[in-house]
Symmetry: C2
Subunit: 309 residues, 2 copies
C-alpha cells in the first residue's frame, strides 16, 4: 500500500510595488499543505479541507482540484483514483496568494504522488488555470513564485514567459495581514484602466532600477526604486491606516513598503532580518493600537517554492 505524500506550497507577494501583474516573490511561510494518496475508486476527490471555511469540496470548483484535474488530463491520467486532504494554513482574501498556493499544492501533490512525470516548472500552466477559477484572470505573479520559489518576473502572462531573478543576500520580507475583508475583484475594480503617461514613465524608471538593484545587490537603489505611483495611490484607500503603516516601516529603515497583491496585507522589504523585524513590529502596532487583529510574517525570500515535505 502506497503511504501517500504531503506537499507544501508557500504564500507569495505579488506586484512588489513596481511590477503590477508581472512580479512576485515567495515567502517561507505561511502556505498550504495537501496530503495525497491513491484510492480504489476512479477519479480525483477532495476528502476534507481544514482551515478553509466555505471552500468547495467539488473538484471542478476548487482551485487545487481544478488545477490537479487539468494536469491529470494532460498526462492521460484523468481517471486515476486519488484522494486529497487539503490543509489551508494561511488566510484567504489576504493578498498573499492563498488560491495560488492551493492550486500549486494541487498540481505538486499529483506530480509527487505519480513520481514526477513532469518537471516542477512545467506544472505552471495547470496551476495558473487553477488560480484562474478563483481570481478570474490568467496571471502567474502569485502562482509562479509559489511553485518555483524566489523572486520572479513574468514577462508575459499569456505565454507564461517566466524568469527567476537574482535575490541580494540579506534581503528580507515583512508582511502584516490586518483582518479586514477586501475581495480581489473589488480591488481590481477600483483600478482605472488608464495610466498617465508621466506615471508610466516614472514607474518604468523605478521598475528598471529595481531590476538593476536586484542584480547588483544595490540596496540603496532598490530603496529609491520601490515606489508605486500607479496602483498603490488607487488601492491604499481600501486599507485603513495604510499611510501610517508605510511610514512606520520606512522609519525603521525598510527599503520599501507597499500593498501585497490586492491587499489588505502590506509588505516591506529590508536589507536584513533585524530591520525587517523592527519594521514588522512597528507596522503591526499601527493596527493593534486600533484593535484590528493582525498577523505578522517575517521571511527570507523562499528559494525553493513548493516542496514535498
Amino acid at each position: 500500500m502506497h503511504p501517500g505524500i504531503k506537499v507544501f506550497a508557500p504564500a507569495s507577494v505579488a506586484n512588489i510595488a513596481v511590477g503590477y501583474d508581472i512580479l512576485g516573490f515567495a515567502l517561507d511561510k505561511p502556505g498550504d499543505e495537501i496530503l495525497a494518496k491513491f484510492k480504489d475508486r476512479k477519479g480525483l476527490v477532495i476528502k476534507t479541507i481544514t482551515g478553509g471555511k466555505g471552500l468547495p469540496l467539488e473538484v471542478e470548483k476548487n482551485t487545487a482540484g481544478f488545477a490537479a484535474q487539468r494536469f491529470l488530463e494532460h498526462i492521460g491520467e484523468a481517471d486515476r483514483g486519488i484522494e486529497f486532504e487539503i490543509r489551508k494554513k494561511m488566510p484567504f482574501g489576504s493578498g498573499l496568494g492563498s488560491s495560488a498556493a492551493s492550486a500549486v499544492a494541487g498540481v505538486m501533490a499529483v506530480n509527487e504522488l505519480l513520481d514526477c512525470p513532469l518537471e516542477k516548472r512545467d506544472l505552471l500552466p495547470f496551476a495558473v488555470q487553477g488560480e484562474q477559477i478563483a481570481d478570474g484572470s490568467y496571471h502567474a505573479d502569485n502562482v509562479a513564485p509559489s511553485l518555483i520559489g524566489g523572486m520572479v518576473l513574468i514577462r508575459d502572462n499569456p505565454s507564461l514567459d517566466v524568469h527567476r531573478l537574482n535575490v541580494p543576500k540579506g534581503l528580507y520580507a515583512t508582511v502584516v495581514y490586518p483582518k479586514i475583508k477586501i475581495l480581489t475583484r473589488d480591488s481590481r475594480a477600483i483600478l482605472s484602466d488608464q495610466v498617465l503617461l508621466k506615471d508610466h514613465i516614472k514607474q518604468s524608471g523605478n521598475l528598471a532600477a529595481f531590476m538593476l538593484g536586484l542584480f547588483n545587490s544595490d540596496f540603496a537603489l532598490i530603496g529609491r526604486a520601490l515606489q508605486d505611483v500607479i496602483i498603490e495611490p488607487q488601492r491604499r484607500k481600501l486599507i485603513p491606516y495604510f499611510d501610517e503603516v508605510q511610514e512606520a516601516a520606512l522609519k525603521c529603515g525598510a527599503l520599501g513598503c507597499s500593498i501585497s497583491g490586492a491587499g489588505p496585507s502590506i509588505f516591506a522589504l529590508s536589507a536584513n532580518s533585524l530591520i525587517a523585524e523592527e519594521a514588522g513590529n512597528a507596522m503591526k502596532k499601527v493596527f493593534t493600537d486600533r484593535k484590528i487583529r493582525t498577523k505578522l510574517f517575517l521571511s527570507g525570500i523562499n528559494q525553493e517554492g513548493a516542496i514535498k515535505c
Copy 2:
C-alpha cells in the same frame, strides 16, 4: 600659447523601444566635434558652426554654448575667455540626439580645456540644461549615453539618477536615417498623455525582461522583450514605410527594431555585426526604392561616450 583642444560627442538612440524617456545608448558615429581654445577677450564665444545651417552663434541660444556657460558659471569661470568652433557632423532633427551631442561636446570642451576641474559624469546636469533649450524638457536619455557612453538607464530624470547597464558581447546597432522632416515637438505632441493599464503591464514586462536579457546576455529574451506597445503605435504613422522597414529588419534576424528617439531615424539591435549590416541594407532599401535619401549607420554600443580627440 595653449594650442586648444578638440572633443567628440557621439549620437545616441533614446527610448530603445521599451524605455520611453528612461533608456538610451551611444553610437560610435556620427557625432559632433568642438574645437576650443583660450582667447584674450572675456567670456565664451562661438566663432563658427560648420554643418549646422541655421544654428545660432549666440551662446545663450546655442545648446553647446548654453551648456558650457552654465558649467563655467558653476566653477566660477564665467568670464574666462574661450572660443568654440563647432563642427556638426550629424543630422539634426533626425532622432539621433543631435542637440544632446552638441550640449555634451560643449561641456566636454570646456572641461578638457581647463584640465578637467570636474569628473566627466558630473558634467551631466549642465549638458542636460543645454539640451533642454532645444528640446524643451529636462531629460537625459540622449545626453547621458552621449556623455558617459554605453547603454544607460535614467531611473529618474529630475534627480539624474543615471546607471550604466551591462551590454552583451556582440550586441550591434543599426540606424537608418531617412531624410524626412519631423520635429521633436510634433513627435511629442502626437502622444496621448494616457496609457492603457493593460499596455502599461505589457510594456513593463518587456522592459523588465529587456533589463534581464542585458544582464544575462540572453539574446532570445532581448528579442522577445523589444516590443513597444505604447509609443511606437502612435508615432509610426509619422514615418512613411515604417512597418516595411521594421519587417525587413526582423526578417534579417534583428532582435528588435523601433523608432530612434522622436524619429524619423529607425534603429535595430542585433546579436552580431553581420546581422546588423544585413538588416541595415534591407532597411535602407525600403527607403531608397522610394527615392527617399537615407543614411545608414552601423555601430557597436559606444562604451566611451564623449572623448578628447
